[in-house]
Symmetry: C2
Subunit: 643 residues, 2 copies
């Protein structure tokens, strides 16, 4: 079955995306317009991305002291992507957008991630950057910066980490001071001078477009000249690489943002990852000024977004989207490996089945897909990658709910399934319904899973893909080793696994007296109820109910002493278990939908992947939750001298 068929099934048969047409915003859309967007993206990905995926790995970005060079193919891929209009796909018509639902936008973008995740200019960073400005910028900032990002004239970055403070944003040391007496009256926003270093900035330097819009976290010193400790003091700034006027035209002035170096990575090599210096004086701009600077007045010019001290809140608008995008990227790398290893397994003859009498070596060798262990490795990949894809699309569907759903219960169901009559959204009444605020709450809890689970398990899928190919998989003549290297990034960036785990167990499941966890469990319970009505799925439904109860009990046990260090010492095993329960739930819900359709080979494959997940994977949660429930202190009490 092709990937496209899988996407179509999930979008239409499972998530009933066409029902979104009942929303005013999407009224002009139809199955045909959705299909047409997917067709276009599939074609561009096939023609402009896939053939150059290996090239983007072998021809790493390099810096000649002035410019960063990428292969020609990357420029052409970016051009085609920009021209497709996908950067603005979800935006209003009057911004040049398509008013596409987020779930369709994400499905369309998935083709690019699968074909060449390291090429094409990292479009999702640019649109995420622009989306943030749409939400938090002034109308001028939206017009000058966001609109040009959507149009592909400017690319975007997010600049959070610093060399001395990776995950610890409290320790951001980049300073921003008002730029002269008239700083508050700049039409582009309150104007500041920034000085500091930012690390791990993807696309921090490139020649893919006219300009780069950096979104930079920095601290505005207090009257005593000191930075406020913690994250409260963080503000957000637009720092364009080249200054622009109110019409968005380049003024010809280079801003003081310079490339200090490129990081040489294990994978994801097509995307230049940079260390940037802001305001170090390499490109002095507009003379000087800036009260409070030592040395000659200097600093990169930046425009405040939102209010001082609210930078992190604004940035998290982008981070949450970025985290789902990371999850999707991880998923698609996994899927690419699944496709490659499936193709290999179907065509590579080797060995013979083991019968009761052993192997009959007088018979010809069989394709390796006939060996049970190879089937196991393929089925595991299928269950990881299709399960993860379903979760990412479900989260995107929740984003649509958040943006366009009604505020109360007459919105769309969280998981339309066979139990609900098919048709317009208004008809889908029997599923668990979520309005805007419930979608928000579900997304809050599911985002750490959507980011972390595919990062871990679709990486495992990539390892299994290598294993299916054996020695060939270990060579650079096949793509699977690159997918594995590329995917290893995803447990690290946009908040490491450990950070996601603290977010989940330390915040998301305890906030509002556990309302988020309750809602996730209630939504699962709806799926359980639908599963109980399908004979073939009863045992899975029962397993999910038990797992959900286990999760709740473990959460209570973890926090039963009220001590964060006891509760959170096993946050990562908790995250792993939570993720497995979520994917089991997603699979069961998909299976409920599948069970209502004619049982062809494809549908039987989906049921098998679901069964694989329940039989081989879900039981793993017991080991993870065991240490959570007992608040096992083996790790946290370990002394440095004992390592």
């Amino acid at each position: 079955m092709s990937y496209r068929q899988t996407v179509d099934f999930l979008l239409h048969d499972w998530l009933a995306v066409e029902s979104l047409r009942s929303r005013m915003r999407f009224a002009d859309h139809s199955r045909e317009t959705f299909d047409s967007v997917l067709d276009t993206c599939e074609r561009i990905a096939r023609d402009k991305f896939a053939p150059f995926n290996r090239l983007s790995d072998t021809e790493e970005p390099w810096f000649d002291g002035e410019k960063v060079h990428l292969p020609k193919a990357s420029h052409e891929a970016a051009e085609a992507y920009f021209a497709s209009g996908m950067l603005a796909a979800a935006q209003d018509y009057d911004l040049g957008g398509m008013q596409l639902p987020c779930v369709v936008e994400m499905a369309a973008n998935s083709f690019f991630s699968k074909a060449g995740i390291g090429i094409g200019g990292g479009g999702m960073l640019t649109s995420g950057n622009a989306n943030l400005l749409m939400a938090h910028g002034t109308s001028m900032q939206r017009e000058v910066f966001a609109k040009n990002e959507f149009a592909g004239r400017f690319t975007g970055t997010m600049c959070l980490s610093e060399p001395q403070a990776g995950s610890s944003l409290s320790d951001v040391a980049t300073r921003a001071v008002p730029d002269g007496a008239d700083f508050a009256s700049d039409p582009l926003g309150p104007r500041y001078r920034l000085r500091g270093n930012k690390m791990w900035i993807s696309n921090g330097e490139n020649e893919l477009a006219e300009n780069i819009v950096h979104l930079v976290l920095a601290k505005i010193p207090g009257e005593d000249g000191k930075l406020v400790a913690g994250t409260r003091g963080i503000s957000l700034f637009i720092v364009p690489k080249k200054l622009v006027d109110e019409a968005g035209q380049l003024t010809g002035e280079r801003n003081d943002v310079s490339l200090a170096g490129l990081n040489h990575k294990l994978g994801y090599r097509g995307i230049p990852n940079t260390l940037l210096n802001f305001g170090e004086g390499k490109f002095p701009v507009r003379g000087a000024s800036g009260a409070g600077w030592d040395g000659a007045g200097a600093g990169a010019i930046g425009y405040l977004v939102g209010r001082p001290g609210e930078g992190l809140r604004c940035m998290f608008h982008m981070m949450n989207e970025a985290r789902i995008a990371v999850g999707l990227g991880a998923t698609m790398l996994g899927y690419a490996g699944y496709e490659a290893s499936l193709e290999y397994a179907k065509t590579r003859p080797q060995g013979r089945p083991i019968g009761v009498g052993g192997k009959d070596t007088s018979r010809p060798q069989v394709p390796i897909i006939e060996h049970a262990d190879v089937k196991r490795m393929l089925l595991a990949q299928k269950s990881y990658c299709e399960g993860a894809l379903a979760l990412e699309l479900y989260c995107a569907r929740l984003v649509d709910e958040l943006h366009t759903g009604d505020d109360e219960a007459n919105g769309a169901p969280a998981l339309p399934s066979v139990a609900a009559p098919r048709g317009g959204a208004a008809d889908l009444g029997s599923g668990p319904v979520v309005g805007r605020s419930r979608a928000h709450l579900l997304l809050e809890v599911l985002t750490p899973i959507a980011k972390s689970w595919p990062s871990e398990w679709c990486l495992e899928a990539n390892s299994l893909a290598i294993q299916v190919l054996g020695g060939y998989g270990y060579t650079r003549d096949f793509p699977v080793e690159q997918y594995w290297r590329d995917n290893r990034l995803n447990m690290i960036h946009e908040g490491t696994h450990g950070i996601q785990a603290l977010d989940l167990l330390g915040r998301k499941v305890v906030m509002d007296s556990g309302a988020g966890l309750d809602l996730v469990r209630a939504t699962m319970a709806e799926t359980v109820a639908r599963g109980m009505a399908v004979e073939a799925l009863v045992s899975h439904a029962e397993s999910l109910a038990v797992a959900s109860e286990h999760l709740a009990a473990a959460t209570r046990s973890a926090w039963s002493t009220g001590s964060p260090d006891e509760a959170l010492a096993n946050a990562t095993p908790y995250l792993q278990a939570f993720g497995h329960v979520v994917i089991a739930w997603i699979w069961l819900d998909v299976a409920v939908r599948v069970a209502a359709a004619p049982a062809d080979a494809v549908q039987r494959g989906r049921l098998a992947a679901c069964r694989y997940f329940f039989r081989y994977e879900l039981p793993k949660i017991n080991a993870w939750l065991g240490v959570v429930s007992s608040r096992d202190d083996t790790c946290r009490t370990m002394n440095e001298a004992s390592f």
Copy 2:
């Protein structure tokens, strides 16, 4: 604690290696001679290997059409290694050897694997090759080939795989025909002409020594000119790259072995991996002859080792050693990552502990080793890598038992522990004793674990090391990404994970009515008994007893229908579970020894690693054994069309 301290503890405190002095063969040895070998290897590894590990990755071997080029550092490392005498360390004095116990030899070699697994010419392949000839070759073959390999004049390879038959040795298509009427009277052994292609041959071409001794599996056609199907028809040949005379001197004749290509790998790049053509006519040698060849008489000249049709049995002599060596290599890569990430975690400041009131951001950042989740990642690595190291050394200790133990019960204990009075081997009476034949049986069962478990879990350790370093770990500025890439090979070569699993569940635990499994379990039971006597270890001992019972029950269930395809469909989960039980057993036995010593920080660290394994890891076996016990058919019944 340094790695050397860990090795010394395992060798002397745990395995009581000094007790081997009571064996005639090792009578000249002492703690001092053992220490001196370790010192030498540690020094050479530090000076000649470690500084060039990255270089061996970036300067891949390349072929100029005639020779394969390696960096100068690789030549120097190989020279130093050859000069150390380690190739012959375990051999008789009169062969230039040191008569070192295998367990000490392996411990000494571990320094090289940790410092630079891809450099130095892959000494263990050469000594493994020579060991095979010592066991199965004629005295002339031993003198001419093995002795020169031990001396570092010749390097060695093993040539099993072919492009059309990787794991499926039945399908070896390389042909060997008698070379002329006098073929049987060659002093170097019955002389044949070989023609065929061999794939994945490590060190198949290099300039590290004067000559290369290929050990090649090939089939001798029957009178009908056909090859015998299956593995029964396989014979083993010595095929030197350059022909030699009876004194081991090069005759000046190049044999018809040519390099068809180098494989470009994900890791292990320092070792050239080759596709070799035998007898394709690129280097025609000694005119011709060879009845039965089509075309001009040709073929590479090879000398039969052992009897026709017994090639695989001979080769497995080398394979079993190679499999333990692979396990050791995987372990040491894991250990290298553990050391690197531990060092980083101690020195990298970032973030603050989470107290009851959250984080106090006015305090300075702490080294990341103070975070519970970082401790978890380090402790997991410690438990994987030290546990695996203990297993590999234990297996090597069994090899010593096999070679020098008495044939019945008065040999050394399988696992000397605190319960046994310390002293000469003769005193170590209370542990589970194994004579030569019992050591053989234990090794048979443990070899697939010794090969597969570190390949999987020390790879996971490498992934955790990357995670500890975060973004830095993903760059090529730190060594951890290379360790991870290097280690990915180990689940593939010398028999894939799937092959090891079939070997374990399909052969090793069922042979002799399950005598091997019974023996492993009885040996574990001895450890359980000793653990029960130490208060702090009682719960672990109980867990191990339950796990051992679970393993036995799952084995019975798997085979209860007598159907290999039902039993073996879940051979890999069985292998994984078996491995975890074995490592838990090893850790418990180590802990029993530790508990008797003063409880300093280092000993507490070992107990913590043991506890980590029992609490966080051992419970994972339930998920794996669940599908084994139920003979879950989800994978094996999956149809190609359903993927």
